[in-house]
Every structure is written in structure tokens, then in C-alpha cells.
């Protein structure tokens, strides 16, 4: 039964790809697919981060704000003459610290993850505006362009980083004890604690990983665009949660697969490209994406 269901999913995907290939303008060109992959990278990396938090049974609504802050910080470091690698390292360390603080607040004071991350997100958003003085950061060093335009086998930097983060996430979730701890806490925190799982530390790690993914995504975004915009992250929270839902991640915790989230990010990116290619107005696009999200949640509910 389970196998039949999986085969059906693969068959439906192949049929969809053939239909898109034959009917949508531009989708007969391989470069479009590379483009889809590249566009999937930013939200995909963020979704991997969100996956850790969601598996633990929490949620992070500060993804959008953190993404903007790390982009600004990275750009600022480069502007003041810090080397690229050091700038990435500092941004990553800051992200891990912020993630840890968020996790610590949630664990220590037993705050609702939603309220806590929303409020911290608002603070971070304000800090981003203060640091950037309300303006996007332009005129990046030439090395940023080099990173942005770097390609291996036609795969641009964002796509490569997406694959790298996919492997890291897979390793963490399925090949380490911490991965098991994430699933255990999300499924039954009390039982996990009794089994000896360090719940507080694991939750802090989940939030730190989520923030780290925000930092990586922001760095890739800045390198790809050549500037650090303040307004780029509008509706990013919704997009990331949509990918997670489409990827079958349980919002109540304990369930979620990295590969499915990866596929979901590709589907969402492809869908955006298809709708743009077909000339569908922006507001209709929102309706269609919303309907897809709703049907994904409904399918998950029926399945479970």
C-alpha cells in the first residue's frame, strides 16, 4: 500500500513535468531548470533550518527578520574591509548566538515559541533598519560578484550551497544522535527526557541551526544579488512554512524528512516560474499557492 502510494507520487510528478515541458513557454530549455534550482536555494536552505525547529515541536517566526539582519551584517562586514571567509564566519557565529538565545528563552522560561520568536523577530527587524540606516547596502566588493557568478556544471553558487546544506541536514537528522533527539522531543518530550535526552540543549541546538541556515541563505542571497536589500524578506516566513507543509512536516512535531522538504522547495520554485511564464497576475499566484498549501495539509491529514 505504502509502495503503491510512493509509485503514484513519482508517476504524477513525471506526468506533471512532461505537461510543463510541452505546454509552458521556456520550459523546454534546460537553463530554466537550473534557474528553478537556483531560485529554490534561498527558501530551501531556510526551510531546512525551519525543519529542525518544527521537528522539535516548535516554530520560528523570526526567520524573515534574521535573514534580513544577516544579509545586512555580512554586507557591512565586507564594506568595512573584512575578508569574505571571516565575514561569513562572523555572521554564522552571530546567527548561532541569536538562535541559542531564542532557544534558551523558550526553554528556560517555557515561553511559547511563536510569541517569543515573533517578538524577537520584530526586535531584529528594527535592529536591521538601524544598522542599515533604512537603506539597502550597495557597492559590494568585486569578490561578491565572483562568488555570485561562480558555477560548476552550470550549477550556480546558490544551487551548490543548497546541495551542501541538504547533505549537512541529512547527516544531522539521520546520522547523528542529535537527529534522533530532535524527533524524540517533537514526538514525546516527557518520554524523551525520561530516556535521558537533554531536552533543553537539543531545543537550543534546533534554534541555533535554524538561525545558522538563515545566515547561510542570507549570505548566498547577498552574493547572488550583489546588494543587501532590507525589503527582500517580505512574506519569507509564510513561504518557508508553505515549503515545510508541502514537504509533509508535522507542525505538532516529531515528523519531517529533509528530502521531502528539498523536493517541496523545488516544487514551489518551479510553480512560481511556471506562473510567471504563463503570465498569471501576482494576486492569482497567491491564490494558487494558497490552494496548493491547503491541499497539501489536507492530504497530510487524510494520510495520517
Amino acid at each position: 500500500m505504502r509502495k503503491t502510494y510512493d509509485y503514484m507520487k513519482i508517476a504524477v510528478t513525471i506526468i506533471c513535468i512532461i505537461i510543463v515541458y510541452c505546454t509552458v513557454p521556456g520550459f523546454d530549455n534546460p537553463s530554466t531548470y537550473y534557474h528553478v534550482l537556483k531560485n529554490a536555494a534561498f527558501n530551501g536552505i531556510l526551510a531546512f533550518g525551519m525543519l529542525f525547529v518544527l521537528i522539535c515541536g516548535d516554530i520560528d517566526f523570526s526567520v524573515e527578520a534574521q535573514f534580513a539582519l544577516y544579509g545586512i551584517l555580512f554586507a557591512m562586514f565586507l564594506k568595512v574591509g573584512v575578508g569574505v571567509i571571516l565575514a561569513i564566519a562572523i555572521t554564522a557565529v552571530i546567527s548561532i548566538v541569536i538562535g541559542n538565545i531564542q532557544g534558551a528563552f523558550i526553554v528556560k522560561f517555557k515561553l511559547s515559541a511563536m510569541i517569543c520568536t515573533l517578538s524577537i523577530g520584530m526586535m531584529i527587524n528594527g535592529i536591521s533598519y538601524v544598522i542599515a540606516k533604512g537603506q539597502p547596502i550597495y557597492n559590494m566588493p568585486s569578490v561578491v560578484d565572483k562568488i555570485g557568478t561562480f558555477k560548476i556544471f552550470n550549477l550556480a553558487t546558490p544551487s551548490l550551497v543548497l546541495f551542501l546544506m541538504l547533505i549537512i541536514s541529512l547527516m544531522i537528522l539521520h546520522r547523528t544522535y542529535w537527529g534522533k533527539f530532535f524527533y524524540a522531543i517533537g514526538s514525546n518530550a516527557v518520554a524523551a527526557e525520561k530516556a535521558g535526552v537533554p531536552v533543553a540543549r537539543t531545543k537550543r541546538l534546533a534554534f541555533a541551526l535554524c538561525s545558522f541556515c538563515c545566515a547561510i541563505s542570507a549570505v548566498v542571497y547577498v552574493c547572488n544579488l550583489g546588494l543587501a536589500p532590507l525589503e527582500s524578506s517580505r512574506e519569507l516566513n509564510t513561504s518557508v512554512l508553505t515549503i515545510a507543509a508541502l514537504g509533509g512536516v508535522s507542525f505538532s512535531g516529531g515528523r519531517g524528512k529533509v528530502l521531502r522538504v528539498f523536493c517541496a522547495s523545488l516544487v514551489m520554485s518551479a510553480l512560481t516560474s511556471i506562473l510567471v511564464a504563463l503570465g498569471v497576475p501576482n494576486y492569482y499566484q497567491s491564490c494558487i499557492k494558497g490552494a496548493i498549501l491547503f491541499s497539501a495539509i489536507l492530504t497530510n491529514f487524510i494520510k495520517t
Partner: protein
């Protein structure tokens, strides 16, 4: 000579102003299985939680491996499995046993389900549970999940496991399987502490049984000294020569007509093995019989929690006069208010409060008020789950009721408080009456 694993001396523990443990002593050797038996409120769960490091006592010392142990050390060395303990559903059986292995995590980061699977299969084969290795956790019976948790203590490097009331719903076959698992785990030098409220089959196989009462250890019985009768005597508080009847679990009183009922007296029914007789009447189906009946769960389940006390009472009155509630609500409230406050001792403010906000004693007052129209009221172990203070207050209310009361209980001491007659049950009927 077997080394001593744990020794607890003079443990005192108070919770919510109630003394749960009072200079309690406890000791165990490596690989020893110990049963701890006591009635509700004796302090079993408190002792289990303190030994497992879940709670800390305010007085007394716990020595682990001849060293004074902190809660953290006890938590690391011990494992607490209670009736609610389950395997984690989203992980496989292998991951549940090895993936959550805290000791392994501290020494290495990487974990592979495939590599550990063989080890787990071998381990479970030893306990006859290898067929569950690929079963979805949700499909595994609770008793098997408890046994797997017990087995996982071996790989988690635990020194002792505390089993708190896990087998109350087990079948005989499941109890036998648990006994086997306990003895196999003990052979690996892991001690098992089995906490239980009633005499169970499992106890017979354990190395030692400690009977506890009112937060103190009252008797330690070794395996070869074990006899259900002596144990009963220590737990329920009377000697085996006084009452030597045996009532099997599941015996029922089918009809109370056979009992002589005298006006204004208290009649107590006592079931010596700890099981309780089932009563056929309850407060909602006794229209034709002038008997009220209530048990401990009626204090919580027979009321609408988010409705005020007075509305709850008005609603039951309304059911009796078969009228619609809302149109006559005000009138009913006026009728009940003064009477209810006078009879129950609750303030007017309390009776307009939501029922869920009342404590156990207040709930009992309201329940007795509701039942006071009956000539006879039967209570089945109404104090189950109550602490010592609540128990005393409930009994005080009971004694002040001036009604014919049939009180069904397995706690001899509690029955003794009433100072009247006891009818011990034997195979579903009352053979003789006994003056206290």
C-alpha cells in the same frame, strides 16, 4: 559478596504541605529486585521519584555506590518507568533503544540505525521480543513497550530501574512476561524496584518486598518468607489470625438487599485483597431505589467543570422535576443557595464559582449534599487518590452526615475510623459481621 548499590536513610519529603515521606529508609544490592507495596497515599510514588532523581527530599541522604549522591547522579544512574511511559512513536524500536542512549552520545556523535539494528535484534532475541524489531511502535502493546524500556536500561548503562504502577492493567500472561524480563535484567546486575498498590503476582518472584505506610517502611519481607497473608496483614494493618478470608479480584456484590441495614448506622464493606466490589447502582440510575452511590471518580466526572456549583446542583434538581433548565434556573438557584451553603459549609462566593475550581474536600461536600435526600448512601473508596489531610476531612464530613452509610474500602485503617461494623466480603457474599 554482592555490593550495595543504593542506600537511602531518613528520607523526609513534604509536598503541598502534606508529609509524604517520614524518615523512610531503603536499601538495595546490585541486581536485586525489590517490591515496594503500600496503599494509596503511603508514599510510594514520592519514594520512586526521589530514588530516580526526579524530586529532591528536604531531609535524609541517598548513597549510591557508597558515595553520597545528588539528584543528577541518581537521574543518570536510574530510570523511572511508570504506567504512562511509552516508546517514542516516531522512532523505530532500534532507535528507541539505542538512538536515545545518552551515554553513547557523550562519547560519539555519529549514529547509524543499520549498524545498531543487529545489536538490538540480538538483545531483544535474548528476551524473546525480536519479532517487534520492525513493528511500528504504535502497534506494540503497552506491556511490551514497558518491557522494551526496561531492556533499554541495559544499553543505557543504568544501575537501577524503578517501575511505578506499571502492571495494574496487565493480563496474567503479561505479568508473567514482566517477571521474566525483570529477572533477566537483574542478572545483568541492574536492580529493579517494583512499586505497587496491591498484591500482584509479580511480587512473589522478587527478592525482597518492603511494605510502606504513611511515609514509613513498616516491614521488609525476604523471598522465602513471603506469604500473601502476612503481607496483607502488614499492608492493611491486621493479623492473619483475625481475618483469614480470601476474596478473588473481580468478585461483585450483586444485590445489597441481603445486607441488614439499620437506620443511622455506618456499614462498612471491606475487600481484603485490595480489589473493590462493583456496585450496580449509581447516582444517575437509582430513581426507583432510595440509595445513593458514589465513588472517587464521581467527584470529578459527574459534574460540569465550567459551570458553577449552584448551577450543577440546580441542573440535577431540574432533571428530577423534568423541567427545562434555563427558564427556571433563577428560581432553582434561590431554592438551593441558602440550603447548600448551610449544609456544605461552602461560602456563597464558592458556590457561584466554577465546579472545577473546588478542591477534593469541597467537591465531596457538594456530592454528599446532592446525595443527602437518599436514605442510604454507599461510597466506594471515595478517598482514593486523596492525601492524608483530605482523607481526614472527608471522613469527618462522612461521620457528620447522620445517615446510613455503606462504605466500601480495601483500607482497614480507614474503615476503623468509623468505629462501627465491618462486613468482610468473601467470594461475593458476606459471611459474618465483625465489630471493631
Amino acid at each position: 559478596m554482592v555490593k550495595e548499590l543504593i542506600r537511602a536513610e531518613n528520607l523526609c519529603f513534604t509536598e503541598d504541605g502534606v508529609s509524604k515521606l517520614h524518615y523512610m529508609d531503603f536499601s538495595a544490592l546490585y541486581g536485586q529486585s525489590i517490591g515496594v507495596i503500600g496503599l494509596s497515599g503511603a508514599g510510594k510514588s514520592s519514594l520512586a521519584e526521589i530514588l530516580s532523581g526526579e524530586k529532591t527530599c528536604e531531609q535524609g541522604e541517598i548513597w549510591l555506590d557508597e558515595r553520597l549522591a545528588t539528584s543528577e547522579e541518581l537521574k543518570k544512574a536510574g530510570m523511572l518507568i511508570n504506567g504512562d511511559s511509552r516508546l517514542i512513536e516516531t522512532l523505530s524500536v532500534t532507535d528507541n533503544i539505542l538512538g536515545l542512549d545518552f551515554n553513547a552520545r557523550t562519547s560519539k556523535l555519529w549514529y547509524s540505525s543499520k549498524k545498531t539494528r543487529n545489536f538490538c535484534t540480538e538483545l531483544l532475541r535474548e528476551f524473546g521480543l525480536e519479532s517487534y524489531i520492525d513493528t511500528k511502535v504504535a502497534m506494540i502493546p503497552v506491556s511490551v513497550q514497558h518491557r522494551i524500556l526496561l531492556i533499554s536500561s541495559i544499553v543505557r548503562g543504568k544501575k537501577f530501574v524503578t517501575l511505578d504502577h506499571i502492571a495494574s492493567d496487565y493480563t496474567t500472561v503479561e505479568q508473567i512476561s514482566l517477571i521474566q524480563t525483570i529477572s533477566m535484567v537483574c542478572k545483568r546486575k541492574i536492580s529493579v524496584f517494583y512499586f505497587v498498590g496491591h498484591i500482584e503476582q509479580v511480587l512473589i518472584e522478587l527478592d525482597k518486598i518492603c511494605a510502606i505506610k504513611n511515609g514509613r517502611r513498616i516491614k521488609e519481607i525476604k523471598k522465602h518468607e513471603y506469604s500473601a497473608k502476612t503481607l496483607r496483614a502488614y499492608i492493611y494493618g491486621f493479623g492473619e489470625t483475625e481475618i483469614s478470608i480470601n476474596v478473588n479480584k473481580g468478585n461483585v456484590i450483586t444485590n445489597i438487599d441481603g445486607i441488614e441495614i439499620r437506620e443511622n448506622g455506618i456499614h462498612l464493606i471491606h475487600n481484603v485483597d485490595g480489589s473493590l466490589p462493583k456496585w450496580r447502582h449509581n447516582i444517575f440510575d437509582n430513581k426507583d431505589i432510595d440509595i445513593g452511590f458514589a465513588n472517587a471518580s464521581d467527584l470529578y466526572n459527574c459534574w460540569i467543570g465550567d459551570m458553577s456549583v449552584i448551577d450543577n446542583l440546580a441542573l440535577s434538581l431540574c432533571q428530577k422535576i423534568e423541567g427545562a433548565f434555563l427558564p427556571i434556573r433563577k428560581k432553582l438557584r434561590d431554592i438551593i443557595e441558602a440550603d447548600c451553603t448551610a449544609q456544605t459549609g461552602l461560602s456563597a462566593e464558592r458556590i457561584y464559582m466554577n465546579f472545577e475550581k473546588l478542591d477534593r474536600v469541597e467537591r465531596f461536600s457538594v456530592l454528599t449534599y446532592k446525595l443527602c435526600t437518599k436514605k442510604i448512601i454507599a461510597f466506594e473508596q471515595i478517598t482514593a487518590g486523596a492525601d492524608i489531610r483530605e482523607r481526614a476531612e472527608i471522613i469527618k464530613i462522612l461521620l457528620g452526615l447522620e445517615k446510613t452509610i455503606i462504605y466500601i474500602s480495601s483500607d482497614y485503617n480507614e474503615l476503623a475510623e468509623f468505629n462501627l461494623k465491618i462486613y468482610p466480603l468473601e467470594r461475593g457474599s458476606i459471611k459474618h459481621e465483625k465489630n471493631i
